[in-house]
Subunit: 412 residues, 2 copies
């Protein structure tokens, strides 16, 4: 008998019919002798409705009250789900974040889980009940409701799986797993059977939005095997697990791309200590997240700084940077929103040299100019002109033969 945590997102519970289908799926697994904990999001569309109501009340809605408002969404789905299970004769009980005691810090709208109490859930599981937990929500030590931010229900599921020492954590979504790249732009994209936590972290942060990055970090920390799969089929999805030998046999596991960034270049900055701090402190104070930063030394104690910011923050960032540039007597500030970041990710890179070079060669062969390069142990990212994104992704996917299956350990 296994203890399984299953998470279903908003589209999987968008209406009574879908909730009933999901309930039946969970009940089948329970009937097979497993202890089942289900984590649910709000019905698709509800969050937008709440945001719309809130902005009608207050220009910038109060974060504490926004959390009270938003958390009512999951409250609705868990109650309906428990009813659906009971209607078919099995026992179930719904629990909210504060009832489970998903204790978080006080950062409303993006709270972090500090502790989860598994006692109440275990008690109900022992009584033979399917336990239905409201995802995305927690409670501070003072009893205030918090929410965990985007992808919060994934985090709830993985954190619960860790706290309950569950055998597996299944994340049901509207895609059937993690792909080597976006199937919409590369027909050869292949579903990955197994991927390491580290690779998934890079892919998630690079824009493959299947699984929230925080939940991957959490899964890695507590060694929770996560199974990402489709809520509409019975097909196996992708297992996100600890790194093993089979993974290393692949040079590159996936190609990710991100079109939501913009670059800003500050030219001929005096290359003196503290200059980077002067430039980036006001940007970060404005809540703008800087991703890549490249600094090239020029002759004569001058340097060029290029960095990327979310495209949505581009105008604000340019305004701030122009002010600082004048202050530090930089020659010019230029920016571009027509860029994309293309990245290859794979734990295999650790043991193979020349992978970055291959990437550069592939892009060069296609006539794609590289504006910025950034590398990590298991990733190489290049900033290119946005219009070449699809071409680059397909060329890299081909070059690294990602359409071919993982080699099994035995054949190695």
């Amino acid at each position: 008998m296994a203890l399984i945590v299953q998470k279903f997102g908003g589209t999987s519970v968008a209406n009574p019919e879908k909730i009933r289908n999901v309930a039946r799926r969970v009940m089948k697994k329970a009937a097979a002798g497993n202890k089942m904990v289900v984590v649910l999001s709000a019905m698709a569309g509800e969050t937008n409705r709440f945001v719309d109501l809130a902005t009608q009340m207050q220009k910038i809605p109060d974060l504490r009250e926004m959390d009270v408002l938003l958390s009512s969404g999951e409250q609705v789905t868990v109650a309906l789900f428990a009813m659906a299970v009971k209607n078919e004769g099995q026992d179930a009980i719904s629990l909210l974040g504060d009832q489970v005691k998903v204790t978080t810090d006080r950062m409303h709208a993006k709270a972090r889980i500090m502790e989860i109490d598994g006692d109440l859930i275990n008690h109900h599981l022992d009584q033979g009940r399917i336990v239905v937990v409201a995802g995305f929500q927690g409670v501070t030590e003072d009893g205030d409701i918090t929410t965990l931010g985007r992808g919060g229900s994934d985090t709830t599921a993985v954190a619960l799986a860790a706290a309950l020492q569950a055998d597996q954590c299944e994340i049901f979504t509207d895609v059937d797993g993690v792909y080597t790249t976006d199937p919409n732009i590369c027909v050869k994209a292949r579903k990955i059977d197994r991927i390491s936590y580290d690779e998934m972290l890079e892919l998630a942060s690079l824009g493959a939005k299947v699984l929230d990055i925080r939940s991957v970090g959490l899964a890695k920390r507590f060694k929770v095997p996560v199974h990402v799969r489709s809520s509409f089929t019975e097909t196996e999805g992708t297992w996100v697990v600890e790194e093993d030998n089979t993974m290393e046999s692949m040079l590159v596991s996936g190609v990710a791309y991100n079109k939501n960034e913009a670059t800003i270049t500050v030219s001929r900055v005096p290359d003196t200590p503290g200059i980077a701090s002067k430039l980036f402190t006001p940007v970060s104070d404005a809540g703008i997240v800087v991703d890549m930063i490249i600094q090239n030394t020029r002759a004569g104690d001058l340097t060029d700084m290029t960095f990327t910011v979310p495209r949505a923050d581009y105008e604000r960032a340019m305004k701030i940077v122009n002010e600082v540039a004048a202050e530090i007597k930089a020659e010019s500030v230029k920016g571009s929103q027509d860029i994309a970041k293309v990245s290859i990710v794979g734990v295999g890179m650790r043991n193979h040299s020349g992978i970055a070079t291959t990437m550069f060669n592939v892009l060069a062969r296609e006539g794609i100019n590289i504006h910025m390069i950034s590398t990590s142990e298991i990733k190489v990212s290049c900033v290119i002109a946005e219009k070449y994104t699809e071409l680059a992704v397909r060329a890299l996917h081909d070059a690294f033969e990602m359409d071919k299956d993982n080699l099994p350990v035995e054949e190695k």
Copy 2:
């Protein structure tokens, strides 16, 4: 500086615009130096939406889960309300039933409040905040969410006023107070300025649905002055308060009617000990609430029993009664759904004789036959044919001169 509890129902907070209006009204009172606690219901229509969703999930929705579902409605309104207040620069905080600690028994869907903790509310009031409390909901000692049933937000407001020793409790509704009778059928109906708890209890139970009967009982027990008034005007409404001399000067305070009952008569029942118990136990076991019971002795150890049941339960009740009648060898069972109960209520009756007789005379003069009579210290009720309801109400209103204002004490 007074501490005031104000309750607004679902129609008063039906949309963002209305919530904003109510918020402004409360803020004005707060700006005048009062400590304000606001109790809100769910937005009008939400409860129906939830009931509809629930019945799609489970034929008879589980009561515990129904409470989880329903209580999310007030959660939405209190959050939006707090935002509306904050948007105009005053401070506010929303609190749910479990956060306040509105502790109830475990009777889901109709829980009774056992205890209210005023500490958290007082803390926030002392910080100068408007405290916005979700009505209708409570929490068991085990942490399960409960709801208080129909009119539950009124009960929350009065219970909070009692717990906080508030100076007043204002119930805002879509009518501007308690009337001597239904203005829709009697143009001379007059708004009552002050009415005693006991009279209000009789009027509420007789169908004047302005104020939930449980909240009146609670207000009486804790001597909470309740002000029932319109949320759409600034006019004074009706104060429900302890009985005083001015009230006794009125013979009758109001005429109520109820068209939702039916009568059942069991004829020629053997008049032996235990016969009433035999008849009514199965009816009450079926959850059917019997209101009036009349027993007339006949000659020869036989008796006739007549009683009223809610019209919605009439068919079920007839079935049960027919079975029992056969068993106890009663001669016949007859019933009627075309009846109405008309009642006059007034604490003045305590000190005046002949009021019941006047009522019978008035009805006789109009040619209205009385089927059943039931009296209490401050009430006389007659069951008549339904078609005469409006005629009876108008005739009684005229006869007891209810269109004339309460006599002030000085003129007595």
